[in-house]
């Protein structure tokens, strides 16, 4: 039970923050907090790949975009013109077709986002598998460039293809009505609900990741990070381990992208840009690489400040500075035990 104590503390903090915004009347902050939370889920996925398994990935934003664009495309197709086709009756028999009114009063028949969620997870997972099996054989610089190349491919396809909205992105994504009385959307009435739902997803992800890290597979990953050859010699199936963790990271990013797209009501090509991938890397680096709690805390902090516009014109530069300074002075990250101990001794004086 001890390993879940931080998760409970986190849940408590989440509630306290919501109550604080309620008391101070700054409920609007919850919007950016919710968005940061979705970004943090993608960062947690990268933390597993980069921090725990030691495989650099500069294409995390590509998977985020795959999740987001899958639902943006699928849930904006209008099936009302396709009634009677076999595709229509197939989805209809599964109960996956919903109707909504456009602002002009027209009725649109669209695919349920539940189907899009499954599609997003499958597409991201299969892409990660197809990319990971050959590419994760590479190491170091080669792996970095290959994953960055994947991210750029996603970006170029999105920018250059009509169904992805080219440079404009897709903007009329309907809300995701998960169950009666609750939907994933940016409407003010659902702000508190969305905030708690995003944290619920984070907490589920955290519990799964904590279990993974403390399992046999998690120890294999740590061995892999230390030395791939040594792990191989100890009987760890390194190729399978790396691919598996890469798929987990990709699926987490895709899920984050999926919910973010419904929350924002749209997605644009900038979500797949190299700079977004680099942001995830800098969050993981500043959080202490193999440290999901560090990634969580720094990810929330940096994304929230960035979304609030605190960094102004220097939004991207801040992440660049973080990367450079962290690597020069604290290659083990900012959030780690030693830092807390040195802060402690600062106050108590040296023993």
């Amino acid at each position: 039970m001890k390993k879940y104590l931080p998760v409970m503390l986190l849940a408590g903090t989440v509630i306290i923050i919501q109550l604080l915004t309620l008391i101070t009347g700054k409920g609007f902050l919850l919007t950016q907090l919710t968005m940061s939370t979705w970004y943090v889920i993608a960062a947690l996925g990268l933390c597993m790949v980069m921090g725990y398994a030691g495989q650099i990935s500069l294409g995390q934003a590509g998977f985020f975009a795959i999740g987001g664009y899958t639902t943006a495309v699928l849930s904006t197709i209008d099936f009302s013109a396709r009634t009677g086709t076999s595709v229509f009756s197939f989805f209809d028999s599964l109960g996956l077709l919903l109707t909504r009114q456009t602002i002009y009063g027209d009725t649109v028949i669209y695919l349920s986002p539940w189907a899009a969620l499954i599609a997003a997870i499958l597409i991201a997972g299969l892409t990660a598998w197809g990319l990971g099996v050959p590419v994760l054989k590479l190491r170091g610089h080669y792996l970095g460039m290959a994953t960055m190349g994947f991210g750029i491919i996603v970006n170029r396809i999105v920018v250059g293809t009509k169904i992805f909205g080219e440079a404009d992105g897709i903007s009329n994504v309907p809300p995701f009505k998960m169950f009666p009385g609750f939907e994933i959307s940016g409407k003010v009435g659902f702000r508190v609900g969305n905030y708690y739902f995003a944290w619920l997803v984070v907490i589920i992800a955290l519990i799964l990741l904590i279990n993974l890290i403390n399992s046999r597979a998690g120890r294999a990953l740590k061995a892999l990070h230390g030395s791939e050859d040594a792990a191989d010699a100890m009987g760890v199936n390194t190729a399978r381990c790396k691919t598996a963790v890469f798929i987990i990271g990709a699926v987490l990013a895709a899920v984050a992208g999926f919910f973010m797209t419904h929350y924002n009501g749209g997605i644009g090509p900038s979500e797949s840009s190299v700079i977004k991938s680099v942001r995830y890397v800098s969050i993981v680096a500043v959080g202490g690489m193999a440290n999901i709690w560090g990634t969580l805390i720094m990810g929330m902090l940096l994304n929230f400040l960035s979304l609030r516009g605190v960094f102004g014109h220097f939004d991207d530069a801040v992440f660049g500075i973080i990367l450079v300074l962290m690597m020069m002075f604290m290659p083990d990250g900012f959030i780690r035990k030693e830092v807390f101990y040195s802060i402690k001794t600062l106050f108590r004086g040296k023993k």
Binding site: I56, H141, Y142, I152, R156, V324, M327, M328
Partner: protein
């Protein structure tokens, strides 16, 4: 396709390929002396074009270009002295992360100096509309400048690395740094020099293509991955074969435009990168057994 049309594609391919070759040569020189892939290599090209543009507003073209090359080389040396030298003992992961961080910083720095506008250096001879007729293909005289500079640079680099004492010392450092040190070569100076040379070469490339392809603050990351593709195609650590590989990739891209939409041009070269990385990491011209011994 008519002959003159094919020629047109060939010339545009060679021009684009030359700029990739400039970036790839920069990668190779730094890789040889440090074992680092400098993700900020594309930023040097952007800096070269931007600085030369600014200077060309109040001085003739040649001194402006020379100033741009010298300033960019100084920035390259500064980066090595301030950041890379302290990082010698960190992991490859740390090296990748810091060079990416630097590339973002340079780009944001350029954004705050030169804003978001696309700029172009003026043409070396003639202007936008002047052209030379070669076998029915009409090409800009700037294309000839690009080809000429690429040729001169390649020959000059070959001469420098093969016959001058400094060039030989640089090669010795890449073969075996410890042995080079024992022979009395200041290896840390050679590393600084290699950063300066590769930044300067990048800046030169940025200047000669600026009239044709324009210069934009965010052009670096695209050039970085294309240049890397070329460096890998030619075999990492071999600056000479990078020129051949660069022109090859340029030609592939130029002809791909005639079949596929323009937007997918980058996708093709990155897919080539992925295939080469996985199937033949030693490159087209590199030795397989030699690359198996290298540590990436």
């Amino acid at each position: 396709m008519a002959l003159n049309q094919i020629l047109q594609y060939i010339f545009s391919g060679i021009t684009v390929g030359s700029i990739y070759a400039f970036v790839a040569i920069g990668y190779n020189i730094i890789y040889n002396s440090t074992g680092i892939i400098n993700f900020a290599q594309g930023e040097f090209v952007m800096l070269g074009g931007m600085i030369a543009y600014t200077f060309s507003n109040f001085m003739p073209l040649l001194p402006a270009i020379i100033a741009a090359i010298l300033i960019t080389a100084a920035i390259g040396g500064l980066i090595e002295n301030v950041f890379i030298r302290r990082m010698r003992k960190t992991s490859v992961l740390g090296m990748i992360v810091i060079t990416i961080g630097l590339s973002i910083l340079i780009r944001e720095f350029a954004l705050s100096i030169w804003d978001e506008q696309i700029r172009a250096l003026r043409f070396f001879t003639g202007n936008e509309i002047s052209s030379v007729n070669i076998l029915g293909a009409r090409i800009s005289p700037q294309v000839l400048w690009v080809l000429g500079v690429t040729l001169v640079l390649t020959a000059g680099l070959y001469f420098f690395l093969k016959f001058t004492l400094t060039g030989q010392a640089m090669r010795a450092c890449s073969e075996n740094p410890t042995a080079a040190k024992l022979c009395g070569i200041r290896t840390d100076r050679m590393v600084s020099l290699s950063f300066m040379v590769s930044a300067g070469i990048g800046a030169l490339g940025g200047c000669v293509v600026s009239p044709l392809t324009q210069t934009h603050y965010a052009m670096g990351s695209d050039l970085a991955i294309k240049g890397f593709t070329v460096a890998i195609l030619g075999g990492l650590g071999n600056p000479m074969s990078a020129v051949a590989a660069g022109i090859l990739l340029g030609l592939i891209e130029a002809f791909s435009i005639s079949i596929l939409p323009m937007a997918y041009k980058d996708v093709i070269s990155i897919i080539i990168l992925l295939i080469v990385l996985v199937a033949r990491p030693s490159g087209l011209f590199g030795s397989r057994s030699a690359s198996a011994l290298k540590d990436y």
